[in-house]
């Protein structure tokens, strides 16, 4: 069994931003040479999420907008205090909570060297406290 691991860096463009990373995942799959197995996509951050959804511009706005209504910035959060580990005040509990709701990893099956995905499905990094450079790890496991 082969395991191919590739970190990918993206710079998000806005405070909330759905970044389509499907091309990067396909690229890693091709580089791996794996024909049958799984692709695991993982974000190494606590204020980003990963999701698979349709690449429709309206949805790319609706998803972060819905999250912001569900977890508003204004509110009493225990996280908002001086955080010595970061040498600053923590002010983004809402971003962490939204990220938890999104989840931080995805698994996609691979067959015949291709991702098994519906025609509407695309893979997104969901930036929730940007813009920032973000690291995603793509791991391809199989034969």
């Amino acid at each position: 069994m082969k395991i191919y691991t590739k970190p990918v860096y993206v710079i998000s463009e806005a405070p909330t931003h759905l970044v389509n990373i499907t091309g990067e995942v396909y690229k890693a799959l091709r580089e791996s040479g794996v024909k049958s197995g799984l692709v695991h996509v993982y974000t190494t951050h606590t204020t980003t999420g990963l999701t698979i959804n349709e690449d429709e511009p309206g949805l790319e706005q609706d998803i972060p907008l819905f999250l912001s209504k569900l977890v508003p910035e204004e509110g009493e959060y225990f996280h908002h205090h001086y955080y010595a580990k970061d040498g600053r005040l923590a002010v983004n509990a809402w971003a962490h909570i939204r990220a938890s709701l999104m989840g931080n990893h995805l698994t996609i099956p691979v067959d015949d060297g291709k991702l098994i995905m519906g025609s509407r499905q695309k893979i997104y990094l969901v930036e929730l406290d940007g813009p920032q450079r973000r690291r995603i790890v793509i791991q391809v496991i199989g034969e």
């Binding site: 040498g87 600053r88 002010v91 406290d129 940007g130 813009p131 920032q132």
Partner: protein, 285 residues
């Protein structure tokens, strides 16, 4: 928008910028040890995006000559400001070295730096020390501002009592033409800092940093509770400079915080950029 009302972030520490660290992992470790910053290193492009998202046209990047060296090094900061019109550099200099400090100042200003950042309690001197007067005299002649750290410091070995804005008063009265910026509105000694800015013609305040809550909570507390909107409008409209204090807080969040305060448009425009344009003698932004 930006052409009509320039927005300038007067307080950015490029200490976790990849280009400023030149890929030096030991330098990054030193930055983390001195400033206790845990957030990830970012490329300059990501900082530029953060500023653009906030609607900011230019940012003042600060170096500090700490006991562990200049963080970030003036050389790498000089390269950044040379290649990027978005950034203005304030040099990190230790002013206690007499003529050597003055030579360094002249050299760095000739390289394009537009001001000096001093952090007296971190750098091991008191602002009013007469041994520094030669340095102040030359800065005054060069007509560039000094941004003094005042107010809360998160740096562990810095004593809060030495961060009081009135520590700078002797400098201001001895060098009345010297342009001085008191960082962080001197928080929590905001009234002391504010009255310095009211009383002394060339004293300014920067709004950077959050110390008692989220950016909206902090800015609202400082500008509408500690001070009052009327006082800010009538006494300090020409004296406050917007600043974020990145990477301790993101510029976008600070801009949103200032926007959330009821404020006349001309006051907002001055705070967000026009005061900085005037202070730095910038032409078209």
């Amino acid at each position: 928008m930006s052409r009509l009302t320039p927005k300038i972030d007067f307080h950015v520490h490029p200490v976790i910028i990849e280009e400023a660290l030149s890929g030096d992992r030991r330098l990054e470790e030193t930055v983390r040890e001195v400033y206790h910053i845990g957030t990830a290193v970012q490329p300059l492009d990501a900082l530029a995006k953060m500023l653009r998202v906030a609607g900011i046209d230019k940012a003042v990047l600060l170096s500090i000559d700490t006991p562990r060296g200049c963080l970030p090094p003036n050389d790498s900061l000089a390269a950044i400001i040379r290649e990027n019109r978005m950034f203005i550099g304030f040099a990190g200099i230790n002013p206690t070295k007499g003529d050597e400090s003055i030579d360094e100042l002249e050299n760095l200003i000739s390289q394009g730096f537009r001001g000096v950042k001093l952090y007296p309690p971190l750098q091991g001197f008191r602002p009013g020390d007469k041994r520094l007067y030669g340095f102040y005299e030359r800065v005054q002649q060069l007509n560039v501002p000094i941004l003094f750290h005042t107010g809360v410091s998160w740096i562990k070995n810095v004593k809060l009592g030495e961060c009081h804005p009135l520590e700078v008063e002797k400098v201001v009265t001895s060098f009345p033409a010297l342009k001085v910026v008191l960082a962080h509105m001197g928080f929590p000694w905001v009234w002391e800092a504010a009255m310095m800015a009211v009383k002394y013609e060339n004293v300014y305040l920067d709004l950077s940093g959050v110390f008692m809550g989220t950016p909206k909570e902090h800015i609202s507390y400082v500008l509408t509770k500690l001070l009052t909107p009327g006082f800010v409008s009538r006494f300090l409209a020409d004296k406050i400079l917007f600043g974020s204090d990145w990477p301790r807080i993101e510029p976008f969040k600070m801009v949103e915080a200032v926007k959330s305060i009821p404020m006349e448009k001309h006051v907002f425009d001055k705070i967000m950029g026009l005061n900085a344009v005037k202070l730095l003698g910038l032409g078209e932004v």
